[in-house]
């Protein structure tokens, strides 16, 4: 039982990566297909590079604009990651024993503070950026967010550790 569920998790993640890769390829193809129809003498653009060197025909440019507007394949692959991660979370969390639901809340709380990544970027801006008004405002917001998130990270993992340390088996 244990082993089987671990495998499920593994498949989910592997599947996720695979899907993301395939979506990326599909988007690439979508971007290339109309180009192939219009252009005849121009050399075929290299599939591996996302930035084509060749001047683009109108149809491709229009499509690219459309994709940009919708945030392009970037947004779709992020959405795919999001949806698949929800599924991974769903299956993993149903396997959490009800006795550990409190540590589950504490640890999910701690890991949701990974939002600190965004705060780090804001707080760690280049100094010449900080000297502008908006840059300074952003840096301060980032700094405050780093404080809040790190309270959560240190506090959350520590309190989880304290809780888990108390769960003991019957002495035999």
């Amino acid at each position: 039982m244990e082993e089987q569920t671990t495998d499920q998790g593994g498949q989910g993640l592997g599947g996720a990566l695979d899907l993301i890769r395939r979506m990326g390829e599909a988007a690439q193809q979508a971007a290339d297909t109309p180009a192939a129809q219009v252009q005849v003498p121009v050399p075929v653009p290299d599939v591996a590079t996302t930035v084509p060197v060749v001047p683009r025909p109108a149809a491709e440019a229009a499509l690219q604009q459309l994709l940009d507007a919708a945030h392009g394949p970037d947004f779709l692959s992020l959405l795919a990651v999001f949806v698949l991660a929800i599924f991974v979370g769903y299956y993993v969390v149903w396997h959490v024993t009800p006795a550990l639901h409190s540590p589950l809340m504490a640890v999910t709380n701690a890991i949701s503070s990974v939002i600190i990544v965004g705060a780090l970027i804001a707080a760690g801006m280049a100094v010449d950026n900080v000297s502008t008004v908006f840059g300074f405002v952003s840096t301060v917001f980032g700094f405050l967010a780093v404080i809040l998130a790190s309270v959560n990270i240190f506090g959350g993992f520590l309190v989880t550790r304290r809780m888990l340390a108390m769960f003991r088996k019957k002495p035999r």
Binding site: E2, G9, L13, H71, F75, L78, F82, A85, I86, G89, Y90, V96, T97, P98, A99, L100, H101, S102, P103, M105, V107, T108, N109, A110, S112, S113, V114, I115, V117, G118, A119, L120, I121, A122, A123, G124, M125, V127, N129, G135, T139, F141, F143, L144, A145, V146, L148, A149, S150, N152, I153, F154, G155, F157, V159, R162, L164, M166, F167, R168
Partner: protein
């Protein structure tokens, strides 16, 4: 994002999944927590050494201040105050999300959010940003209110006012409109307006929810803190934030679902609030019925002569801090050859798994503690059911009386035990405001006292 950063973020995400996976049993849980810490360390270090961070001073300062506060708080907190602590922590995630969204709005170039060659932020980024900020703001004030209710700073009673739901619905619709306007015209004032409205909505939505529904509220806010992180992840094009946010979001959603099922109420019924407000209305008429009252000595005698005792703890045990005395009592019983087990209802306490943590704190081995569906059949073979600080979760009316507000809620079948010992301060009804017919049964003996004092007296009588 360069390849190295992407791969490190992926490893961090896998660590977080392993952290949740470890919680499937207490043996693997500690290693799971270690995975979580490792994942977080990888995420932070990768970002700090990454191309988007140029200056460490603010970061190190923030980490030191926040880390110190977090460390001290987590080290000092009493296990009974855990629900408040978790609510407070959720509020911090919410507020952090708001701050990150604002930082991204004012310095989009640092986050790579500009349309190449222009000074404009992409429309989609604006939508993602404002949704992340709104969910964060809502989580912040909602969690602060939940914290107040759990801490006792704000009354645990539901606060209801006329047209409440229409006001909330109105704010919600205005919020959606503002997000649309903001994505088109991009003025900062709209983002602030969105944040302020979401802050207000957080207060208004949680205020009408009663204290004992807090397990659902905390789980829900847990879920929202995840969605807020995911929203920011979309804004920053960061898959790690998106994955983690989705994990946390679905975890909180599952917990809310389990809690709602434990009360046989729909999620909306809980969220719309007002439940348990009108307690003790028709109480006087019922209170005339006779109850059997016992003393600590009676209880000690009954339990010492039993062959199996099932203890049913509830929130009252947490309030009285009776878990240590309770474990002492159980130890004495076990020494006399009595089989002791504990039965936990899913919504006992103020957060999911609250009772399990308190019992674990008192050194009760976790393999003596059982969930409702695992132990309910055993009450029929038990000699004594010892109910301490629980009420509604043992109410047989939930099975028989279709007019009862708690009808259909899964309850512990304590009345099937030969004798029910019910530790309670008075005959008052529980949170749901429903009288418990269990009090008046022939096989029930009421022990009127503070939970901790009664258990200590029982221990003395046994010795």
């Amino acid at each position: 994002m360069d390849a190295f950063t992407s791969i490190m973020y992926l490893i961090a995400a896998i660590c977080f999944i392993m952290a949740l996976r470890g919680l499937s049993s207490p043996e693997t849980a500690r290693r799971g927590n270690f995975y979580g810490i490792a994942g977080m360390a990888i995420a932070i270090l990768t970002t700090m050494f990454g191309p988007q961070v140029h200056n460490w001073w603010w970061i190190l300062g923030g980490l030191a201040i926040g880390g110190a506060i977090g460390f001290v708080v987590a080290q000092r907190i009493q296990m009974t105050a855990l629900p408040q602590l978790v609510a407070a922590f959720h509020s911090l995630v919410g507020l952090a999300a708001v701050f990150v969204a604002l930082a991204a709005f004012y310095s989009p170039e640092a986050f790579g959010l500009l349309i190449p060659g222009t000074n404009e932020i992409r429309g989609v980024s604006l939508i993602e940003m404002s949704i992340g900020a709104a969910v964060g703001a809502y989580t912040f004030t909602g969690s602060v209110i939940a914290w107040g209710k759990l801490q006792g700073v704000i009354s645990g009673k539901p606060l209801v006012f006329p047209f409440q739901h229409f006001v909330n619905l109105g704010i919600g619709l205005v919020l959606i409109l503002l997000v649309v306007f903001f994505s088109i015209w991009e003025p900062g004032i709209l983002l602030w307006l969105i944040i302020i409205l979401a802050l207000a909505l957080g207060v208004l939505m949680i205020v009408p929810i009663g204290g004992a529904d807090m397990p659902v509220v905390i789980s829900m806010l847990n879920s929202y803190s995840g969605w807020a992180a995911a929203g920011i992840g979309f804004t920053l094009h960061n898959p790690l934030l998106i994955i983690t946010g989705a994990l946390v979001g679905s975890s909180g959603a599952i917990l809310s679902y389990i809690m709602c099922k434990g009360m046989n109420r729909s999620f909306f019924n809980v969220i719309l609030g007002g439940f348990g407000g009108e307690a003790a209305a028709g109480q006087a008429a019922l209170a005339d019925r006779t109850v059997k009252q016992g003393s600590a000595e009676d209880a000690a005698f009954l339990m010492s002569n039993a062959s199996s005792v099932i203890i049913v703890p509830g929130y009252g045990m947490a309030v009285a801090q009776a878990q240590h005395a309770l474990r002492e009592m159980a130890d004495l019983l076990k020494k006399q050859g009595v089989k002791v087990s504990y039965a936990i209802h899913p919504v006992a306490g103020r957060m999911p798994g609250h009772m399990n943590v308190l019992l674990a704190e008192a050194n009760v081995p976790y393999d003596e503690v059982f969930e409702l569906e695992d132990i309910n059949r055993e009450f029929a073979q038990a000699d004594v059911a010892f109910v301490i600080g629980a009420n509604d979760v043992t109410n047989p009316a939930a099975k028989t009386d279709s007019s009862s507000p708690i009808y259909g809620m899964p309850v512990l079948d304590v009345e099937k035990a030969k004798t029910v010992l019910f530790v309670k301060r008075s005959l008052g009804s529980g949170y749901a405001g429903v009288d418990n017919p269990l009090f008046y049964r022939d096989n029930t003996m009421m022990l009127f006292a503070d939970a901790k004092k009664m258990v200590e007296d029982i221990v003395k009588a046994m010795e």
